[in-house]
């Protein structure tokens, strides 16, 4: 197998999967409470959060990448804070996660928020009259009932992270150690004999996207089977 697929391709696939999984792991704990807050409460500055969270969706990815680079370069506002901790984001594999997380966040947040909006708030009210605290209500009622949205958001964020290119190229640039599938495909474009490898990567991308969709479908079905004809 490895004779057929060279080590560079393998490591790109591995890296892409790792980045996409990290993005979901890092973003979910932010998206779930934020999505819940946006779905349930009115607060000052809510529009500002909505605009900021959706910005990566409408801005050209390279612009977002540029903004991230400015922030995270060693002299940047965030880079300067992270440097003493020994954390490098720009031109590092962590940058892959940051860029993909920022770019996929609007999709994740939107799906999670829609999930929470589909939950009847009166069910939460009923849970509280039964003695459940806000947190217990959230964990036992709101989150389980919003899980379809959460699952859908994770799949979208995962798939979007696999394909992230524009912001990543700006923030991390092209290096041997930070080549995800899209970056590798791009770098192979002008290489003689790279075409075969590109086709393999394209096939892998298609398989991964299909697997993500199938995975979400299975999770969804299992969730649905668990609640039979939950109305």
């Amino acid at each position: 197998m490895s004779a057929w697929i060279d080590p560079g391709t393998w490591s790109a696939v591995r890296l892409s999967l790792l980045v996409a999984a990290s993005v979901v792991t890092v973003s979910l704990p932010v998206a779930v409470p934020l999505g819940y807050a946006l779905a349930r409460s009115q607060f000052r500055g809510k529009w500002l959060i909505e605009v900021a969270a959706n910005l990566p969706l409408v801005l050209p990815p390279v612009v977002v990448g540029w903004a991230l680079l400015v922030l995270f370069q060693p002299e940047g506002a965030l880079g300067r804070l992270l440097l003493p901790l020994g954390i490098r984001v720009a031109f590092d594999w962590k940058g892959l996660v940051v860029a993909a997380a920022v770019m996929s966040f609007p999709l994740l947040l939107r799906a999670v928020r829609l999930g929470f909006e589909s939950v009847d708030p009166r069910l939460e009210m009923a849970a509280r009259t039964l003695g459940a605290s806000r947190l217990a209500t959230f964990l036992t009622i709101s989150l389980p009932l919003a899980r379809r949205g959460v699952i859908a958001g994770c799949v979208l964020a995962f798939a979007r992270s696999l394909g992230e290119f524009g912001a990543t190229v700006m923030l991390v640039s092209q290096r041997e150690s930070t080549r995800t599938i899209p970056l590798l495909i791009y770098s192979l474009r002008d290489r003689v004999g790279g075409e075969r490898q590109i086709w393999i990567l394209v096939a892998v991308s298609v398989v991964l996207a299909g697997a993500a969709l199938a995975g979400s479908e299975i999770l969804e079905r299992r969730a649905r089977a668990g609640r039979v004809e939950e109305s």
């Binding site: 009166r122 009210m125 009923a126 009259t129 039964l130 459940a132 806000r134 039979v228």
Partner: protein, 356 residues
Amino acid sequence: MSRLTFDCRHRFRGGFELAATFDSDANVTALFGPSGSGKTTILRSIAGVLRPHHGRIEVSGRTLVDTAAALHVAPERRSIGVVFQDQLLFPHLTVEANLLYGSLRPDRCGQAVDYQRVVAVLELGGLEARRPASLSGGERQRVALGRAMLSRPELLLLDEPLAALDAALKDRILVYLERVVAEFRIPTLFISHSQAEVRRLAERVVIVEGGRVLAQGTASETLDQPGPLARRDALRPVNLLRIDEIFDHGDGFQARVGEHQLLLPPGERPGGPPFYVQFEPAEVTLALGEPAGLSVRNRLQGTVRQVVDTPTGVFVAVDCGQILWAEITREAVRELDLRPGGPVTCLVKTHSLRLV
């Protein structure tokens, strides 16, 4: 110390204002009034899901709301069980998990209620593994009631527990409610706009209309007054006699109410005790002496207790062991010279009776 003291004002954006004051020591209290009278607002304030703008609420000596002291106890700390009109069962949990949802919470003040006992009383056995979506309306209502009771409430609030059900189901759920009230003795406040329900269940009645409390007291102090008696809408008065015994006399069923016998309409078959016969006051004919040659089967001798003149007609309360109301015209009252203390015979056609 009252079990429940309520004194709140709340103004809604639409202009409706609630300004209600009442208290109750009774085990079962009814909030009675038309839709939109503020009953649900009162209930929501007590449950803690609505913050009244001004006022105080106390339950069993505990202050739950005191706007003067900026006190508003969170709903989960109130130990108040609520049965909502549309049940609000958790769709992703089984019936058993729904029932037990509130029972595992700490800090509830009320007495513990035995799970198996609730399942038995509400006849929920066999449903425990099912999901709410596969239950019938009556089953859902019973699960909601069981869930609220098992949360160890100090006070049970029922928001029109029967409103969403059809007549036959209403009667059956009412039986369950009666059982629950009798067996578990959890203080209960329920909302209703049916005099039959209120007369049957409540020891104390609070009449609410237009956001104000019009009257509070026993059924006779509140419902048997000109205002409530004159109602023509859903709040209209109704006679409800408790049946002591039912027997089959071959050609149908006969009911014993105190010393009286009532012939029940054919096809009316008792479903399970306790039974009541229900009929409208306008279906009652009053006669002096013992009339002969009448097709009316049911005759109850009694004594006039009260004559209440209302804008729509005169209501005469007759004591036949239980109080029964007859609605007749002013002319008839004059002609028969009906006054408290006088003997009278109440005639009710069998086909006017409904077994509930």
